[in-house]
Chain length 427, copies 2
Amino acid sequence: MTAYGEMSKAQLLEEQKSLMKAYEEVKAKGMKLDMSRGKPGKEQLDLSMGMFDVLPVDHEMVGEQGMDCRNYGVLDGIIEAKRLLSEMMECPTDNILIYGNSSLNIMYDTVSRSMTHGVMGSTPWCKLDQVKFLCPVPGYDRHFAITEWFGIEMINVPMNENGPDMDMVERLVSTDPAIKGIWCVPKYSNPSGISYSDETVRRMAALKPAAEDFRLYWDNAYCIHHLYDDDQDVVLEILEECKKAGNPDMVYKFSSTSKVTFPGSGLAALAASEANLEFIKKQLTIQTIGHDKLNQLRHVKFFQSYSGMRAHMRKHAAILRPKFEAVLNVLEREIAPLGIGTWNHPKGGYFISMNTMPGCAKRAVALCKEAGLILTAAGATYPYGKDPEDSNIRIAPSFPTPEELTEATEVLSLCVRIAAVEKLLEA
Amino acid sequence: MTAYGEMSKAQLLEEQKSLMKAYEEVKAKGMKLDMSRGKPGKEQLDLSMGMFDVLPVDHEMVGEQGMDCRNYGVLDGIIEAKRLLSEMMECPTDNILIYGNSSLNIMYDTVSRSMTHGVMGSTPWCKLDQVKFLCPVPGYDRHFAITEWFGIEMINVPMNENGPDMDMVERLVSTDPAIKGIWCVPKYSNPSGISYSDETVRRMAALKPAAEDFRLYWDNAYCIHHLYDDDQDVVLEILEECKKAGNPDMVYKFSSTSKVTFPGSGLAALAASEANLEFIKKQLTIQTIGHDKLNQLRHVKFFQSYSGMRAHMRKHAAILRPKFEAVLNVLEREIAPLGIGTWNHPKGGYFISMNTMPGCAKRAVALCKEAGLILTAAGATYPYGKDPEDSNIRIAPSFPTPEELTEATEVLSLCVRIAAVEKLLEA
C-alpha cells in the first residue's frame, strides 16, 4: 500500500474508482449498526444480574446506621454506600455525597446551582455579564451541552499526550476572572483515552485562579474502567493534590457506577472538600427528599466490598478488550500504511479517538451513515459541535460484537479513505 | 368539663395547677416519639415487599418498546410506567414525564429552570427584579422552602373549606405580573386535609394571569391516598379544566409513588401540556442520561395494572385509618369540650391540622418537645416559618402505632391546654 500523500493525481483517481466500487458493494449489504454512544453491551449488563437477587423479600432492609432504607431519611447516602464509593473514588467517606443515578445530572446540578446561588458565597453566575469554561478538546459532548445550555462561553484547550495544554490553562485561569471552570476527564478521557500525567494533575491542583469560584470539574467517569490487568493508568488523586497545593476547595470530583452495574440504574456520587459539601448540602435539603437508598443497599450487598467491585471490573475488561482490539486491528491494517489518520491505543475507558486528515471527518461520518453505520456526529467532541480541523471521529466499541466491530471498522476505514482521496484531489 | 373561655381566673389557676401536675407526671415517663414528618409506618412499607421479587434474575428486562431497561436510553419514562402513572394522575400518557424518585425534586427543578431559562420563552426569572408566589396557608413547608431558596417572595393566601380564597387569588394573579405561581395541594391538602371544590378548581383553571409565565404548581401528592372506601373526595382534573378554560399551558401537575411503594425508592412524575413538555424536554436531554428504568419496570410488574395499585392503596388505608381515628378520638374527648382548638377530619392524605387559640401553638409544641414528643415545628406550615396567628399545629399520624398515637395525642392535648390556660391568664 502506498501512502496517499505520495500518490500522483492519476493514482488517486484510480484509487477513488476502486474505493467507490467497494463502497457501493458495502451499501448494497444494508448494514445497520449504531456506534454513536458509549453503551455497554448486553454481555456486560448480564454481569450484574445478581443485583436483582441481593434484596430478597426476607432481607433486612435496615442500614448500618439503623434506618429502614425503605423509608424517608438520610439525605447524602447510607454510610455503607459511601464507604464503597469512597474506595472507588479514592476519597475519605467524609468527602462523599451519594446522589441519584447519573453523575451527568450532578454536574448539571452543580452548574445550575452556581448560576442561581454562586459558589460558597460568590456572586451567582446569572448576575454576571460573562461566565466562561475551559474545554479540553476533543472532549465529552454532554459536558459541553451543559455549559452551552447555561449560556457559558466555552474556550477550546488542546489535549496533548499528558492531558490539557497546561501552559494555556495556567495563563487563562490566572488572568480571566470570568473563567469559572474547566471540564476534565482525567483518566482514559473521553474520547482520546489519555490519562493526565502527574505533572498535569499537580499543575491543575496548583492553579492560581483569578476567580475565587473557579473549580475543576473532574469527571472521573472511568476511574476503575481498565482494559488490561497488567497495564493500567494511575492518576494522582486530585482532592489530595489540591489540599497539598493550598487549594482544598478548588475541585468537584464526579463518578458513577453507570458502567459498573447498570447505566441509568447505578449510583452517582460527588466528592469535594467539607467546605464545598457543607454549601452543597444546604441546597440538597431543599432539593430532594433524598436519593434511592434501596439501590444503594443493593449495590453494597452485590459487591460486598471494593475488591468485589474490582473483580467485577475485570469481567467487564475481558468483554471489552477484544472489542477494542478488533477496531484497532482494522485501523492498523487499513489506515496506518496510508498516512491518512492517527488514533490512540487506550488502556481503559470507552472510546477510541481517531483523527483523520483535516477536513475529512464530517464527510467520512456522512458516508458511514449512508452505508448504515451510525457514528457519533463529527464535531460532537468539540464545544458547539465545531471541530475547527474537522478531523476527530469518536469510535465507541462497547456495544457491538467483535465481529460487527471488525466489519464496521472496515466500513469506517473505507469511508475515511474515500474522504481522504477526495480531499487530496481537491488540493 | 367547662369551656376555658367560661372559666373565672380562679378556676383557670386551679386548672393550671392540675395540668402542670399531670405534665410533670408525663415528663417523668420519658416518652420518645417523633411525629414531625408524614412518614409511612413499617407495616405500610411491608405491603410493598413484593417489589423485590418481580425482577428475578431470569426475568426479561426488555420493555414494551423493545429496549433493554438495564441500559442507556429512553429519557422520559418507559411507556408501561407512563401508562400506570397516567391512570393514577388522570392524564393521557402523552402528557406525562417520568422522573426519578422525588416529586419534590421535580418541583425544585421546575422552579430552578424557570430561574435560569424562563418558561416557554419568557424572561428567566433571575433577570427580573421581583418574582412572587402565592402560598395557600397553612401549607407544605417544603414547597415554601423551595421558593424561599430562590429568593421568591411568598404571599399568604388563606385556605377555607373549599380551598384557597379564590377572590384573593384572582385579584392578585390578574393584576401583578411578578406573581409567577401558586403552590397547590388540591386533594387532602397538607396539612389541612381539605380538597378543592369544583368551583375552586374551575376558578383556578380560568385565572387570567398578568404574567404569561404564571403556572399552577399542582402537587397531587395524595391523589389516591384515601382513608375510606365509601367516602372519598373527588377533585376535578386540572389539565382538562385548564384546557377547557383556554389555559392549556397554565399548570404543572406533580405526583409520585413515595407513599404508594417506598419513600425515596418510588417513581415521580410530571404532567403538563405538550407545549410545556416540549420545552421541558429540551432541558431534560442536557440534564440527565435518563432515570431509573429498572425501578419503573419494577413498579409496573408489581402492580400489574392501575386496579392493582388501587387495591394496594386500600391496604394502606386499612393501616392508616385507625391511626387517624386514634388522634381524632383523643382530640374530641380532651379538647373539643374546652373550646380551645379546632381540627379537620380528613378523608385522606397524611395529616391532621389543628388550630389552637391564637398565640398557643409554639408554646404547646415546645411543651411537647420537653415531654419527649417531637411535632412539626409550629410555624412550619407557613412561609418563612411564620404563622401570624401562632395557632397551627400539624399532626402526622402515619408512623406511630395507634396505641402510641393515643398516648401522644393525650400529651399534645395536655400541652395545648396548658398553653391555652397561660394565654387566658395573660389576658
